[in-house]
Symmetry: C2
Subunit: 126 residues, 2 copies
């Protein structure tokens, strides 16, 4: 189940709010790139068709929506997608991030630290 950039933005709002109506999603979007209400509505509907969100209840006459997939799984999906573009190898990705300054050596060390702890704690859970 592939999500587009814009769909991911909507999902991000929902992941943050846990549950929201179309209007709430709409208002959570930065004014600068806020499309028409009905546009957001359409995307939410498509997300529903894709199974990425589900209706939870009705408040007044407004439907409430909640994510049906986790942020993590969606991110994983995006990452995998991109790795494929890079021929499946992850090192170039990190190297490129470093080179363009998006990532510092300090960042790397920090991540390393966290990772060492994570795997040590659970031995690589589940």
């Amino acid at each position: 189940m592939k999500l587009t950039k814009f769909e991911l933005e909507i999902m991000t709002v929902l992941w943050n709010l846990e549950e929201a109506s179309v209007r709430e999603v709409c208002e959570a979007l930065a004014e600068r790139k806020r499309p028409a209400y009905t546009t957001v509505q359409t995307i939410v509907q498509r997300l529903e068709q894709k199974g990425a969100v589900k209706r939870t209840r009705k408040i007044g006459n407004a439907l409430m929506f909640a994510p049906a997939v986790t942020r993590k799984s969606a991110y994983r999906r995006v990452l995998d997608e991109m790795l494929e573009l890079f021929g499946g190898s992850a090192q170039p990705v990190v190297a490129q991030l470093l080179e363009s300054g998006k990532l510092t050596l300090a960042d790397l060390k920090a991540i390393e630290q966290a990772e060492t702890k994570r795997t040590a704690a659970k031995g690589g859970r589940k």
Copy 2:
């Protein structure tokens, strides 16, 4: 100038061969996912329109094409695109790569090494 997955695959062939005809590109693609000759041709034409490849010369009646953009710049573009999806922060990306096993701690160390050397050598060129 945005390239799609398929377009990037074609570009990869061209980056590897330096220069190639449509037929050569075609034959360089894994048989499993090799579309019709004319499909490849269409993509190459679109790449030309986008300015990603350029005609170099004619051999027999076949045109030769060469990349007009570097692999690096294209990769950077893809990365930036993806970072935006992740809210601009690179750490989660790396963390996710680690967690899914696409990247090991050893990989990280190696990259760190290389990076340390790289920046030391040139003091962060240009």
